[in-house]
């Protein structure tokens, strides 16, 4: 970024250029764009490879799952989050720590079911769809389905079976993006004998 300053002194004509954002801010922005664009390229490619949207959705979910399974390690290592005591706490950690850390957004948690095993994450803006418009012939494509897979995979690694799906999507004309999560069960006896 120091280059920017150099250039200004080289040619005086350039003085009216906007100041470059702070390195850290622009770095962060850039890598988010790298991710968003890469994801876009991936979805495009999948749409070419598979004939119908359902298969693409399935594939995205599967990829997300594989990512989630690995991402949870990175998350636990970096976040210092301990064991959650109930599903409400899990919801908080997902929304306030995990989403913040990886996507830079904090979704709000609403619509708890009376039994407390189901809730919605409301995403005001979804970085994955920053530059996206869905063409008409892909109406059943769930563009951000990768996220569902990630959440499912990550939670499975901490002994929670969950069901995750999109109920609203800004890409389809809804006002917000809503992810519905339902707790299915605790996965037991995953530990090898003799370990706590």
């Amino acid at each position: 970024m120091s280059r920017q300053a150099n250039r200004g002194t080289e040619s005086k004509k350039m003085y009216w250029y906007l100041p470059f954002p702070l390195p850290s801010a622009s770095l962060r922005l850039m890598s988010s764009e790298l991710f968003t664009l890469t994801y876009g390229a991936l979805v495009t490619q999948l749409c070419k490879d598979y004939e119908n949207d359902e298969d693409v959705n399935k594939q995205l979910d599967k990829m997300g799952y594989n990512i989630g399974v690995r991402l949870i390690e990175d998350f636990l290592a970096r976040s210092n989050v301990g064991r959650c005591h109930d599903f409400r706490e899990t919801a908080d950690v997902i929304a306030k720590v995990a989403f913040k850390m990886y996507l830079g957004i904090t979704p709000s948690i609403t619509n708890w079911s009376p039994a407390g095993d189901e809730f919605s994450l409301i995403l005001e803006n979804n970085p994955l769809v920053d530059f996206v418009e869905l063409p008409d012939n892909h109406s059943s494509l769930i563009y951000s389905n990768l996220l569902c897979g990630v959440l499912r995979g990550a939670l499975e690694m901490v002994q929670m079976a969950v069901d995750v799906k999109f109920v609203q999507d800004t890409l389809k004309g809804d006002g917000v993006t809503e992810i519905r999560m339902r707790f299915i069960k605790r996965i037991e006896d995953n530990l090898p004998a003799g370990e706590e």
Binding site: E33, L34, G40, L71
Partner: protein, 156 residues
């Protein structure tokens, strides 16, 4: 984001190769696919990235931009070496290349390295192409986390 990107890239590579396994196994096709995805991303990124920069003087200026600013933002690290013969061939060398550092540094997986580099080749080619330079980008790995990208500029 970086962790996410690395994992996503990983999945992309496996995904592309898996989809190919069912049909005919053609190594070249997969590489091309990954390269094309990179190309598209490179185009998009450079467009966003050069929004606020001054006009470039010449080819060398563009290359410098690619290897300094572009590379640093994409891979969080400056490239270690840039060489040129001043006749349209540039070699960019990264000693600890991000997408390779997660693999064992022995000779064991050397054969697998190309598929993890195709995307990046495309990224560079896409970036250059949007700055008006037609090029061929190839990657070469001789010892594991080190890799060299050779950019050959096509004169129009």
């Amino acid at each position: 984001f970086v962790a996410l990107f690395l994992l996503l890239h990983n999945e992309m590579v496996t995904g592309v190769y898996k989809s190919q396994e069912q049909g005919e196994v053609e190594n070249g096709r997969c590489i091309t696919k990954l390269e094309n995805m990179g190309f598209r991303v490179g185009q998009g990124l450079i467009e966003r990235f050069t929004k606020d920069t001054a006009r470039f003087k010449d080819e060398l200026d563009i290359m410098k931009f690619i290897y300094k600013d572009f590379w640093t933002t994409v891979f969080k690290k400056q490239i270690d070496n840039l060489r040129t013969n001043h006749q349209g061939i540039y070699v960019l060398q990264g000693n600890k290349f991000r997408l390779l550092t997660q693999m064992s540094s022995g000779k064991q997986y050397l054969d697998h390295a190309p598929k993890y580099l195709a995307f990046t080749c495309g990224l560079i080619r896409g970036g250059l192409s949007n700055l008006g330079i037609k090029s061929i980008v190839t990657a070469e790995v001789s010892a594991m986390p080190t890799c060299k990208f050779q950019v050959i500029i096509q004169t129009m």
